[in-house]
């Protein structure tokens, strides 16, 4: 398991390659990249600042990946999340999961993202044409997370 919280950008392709080439019995890698949109809730976004809770962030991400590992038969997982100042099209987060087959990798990857969105202590502050504002949590993110309780 690899968890990194960093200011610098990351090379998603290199990270995915490192993950998938670790073991020759890996057959599937599911990955997700989140990036800054230039538009949110109808307003143009010029950039954003990502604040986090140092120490808790890493613990929360490790716990989330551990839960995914307990639930699905996966071989390794990677989470990289950026903090600090970001502009539109900048990468925010990479989650990648390797497994023998695709179903487990897909589900674990989506599970990690849904939990990261609702449990990992990051907060976005957007710079819009109407000034700065803290991004509100989305009800759809809570709903996405709640799905995993039923399964």
């Amino acid at each position: 398991m690899t968890i990194r919280v960093q200011t610098e950008d990351f090379d998603a392709g290199a990270e995915i390659n490192r993950l998938r080439l670790q073991r020759p019995d890996i057959g599937a890698v599911a990955a997700f990249i989140g990036q800054v949109r230039d538009l949110n809730q109808g307003d143009a976004v010029a950039g954003m600042t990502l604040e986090h809770y140092p120490g808790m962030t890493e613990k929360a991400l490790e716990a989330i990946v551990q839960q995914a590992s307990n639930r699905w038969d996966i071989m390794d997982a990677l989470v990289i999340h950026r903090i600090g100042s970001l502009k539109p099209s900048d990468q925010i987060v990479l989650v990648a999961v390797a497994g023998a087959h695709r179903g487990e990798a897909f589900h674990a990857c989506e599970f990690i993202m849904d939990y990261l969105k609702t449990e990992a202590p990051f907060w976005k502050k957007e710079q819009t044409t109407n000034g700065e504002r803290w991004v509100d949590a989305r009800a759809s993110d809570d709903a996405a997370r709640a799905r995993w309780h039923k399964a």
Partner: protein, 83 residues
């Protein structure tokens, strides 16, 4: 003494990133919030209002019923918005 931390919108509203505070042994998160709200002003607005604040005790999400012990790190913050 406990270590209190405030993040994001809450940090800005309170004008504080955190503090050291002496609290009664075995106090719950909820009781601590009432104690902070009793300071009045923005503290009352943030800790007594319907702000859907989240709490973490020793860097783990905690319910308002969680008990706090001397030396704990207690953080309050708005719902998270990373990813």
């Amino acid at each position: 003494m406990i270590r209190l931390l405030y993040f994001a919108r809450l940090r800005e509203a309170l004008g504080s990133a955190g503090e050291e505070l002496a609290v009664a042994g075995g106090i719950t998160v909820e009781a601590l919030m009432q104690q902070l709200a009793a300071r009045g002003g923005v503290w009352a607005e943030e800790f007594a209002g319907d702000k859907s604040l989240r709490a973490a005790v020793n860097q783990t999400l905690a319910p308002v019923t969680a008990e706090i012990r001397d030396g704990d790190e207690v953080a309050f913050f708005p719902p998270v918005t990373g990813g």
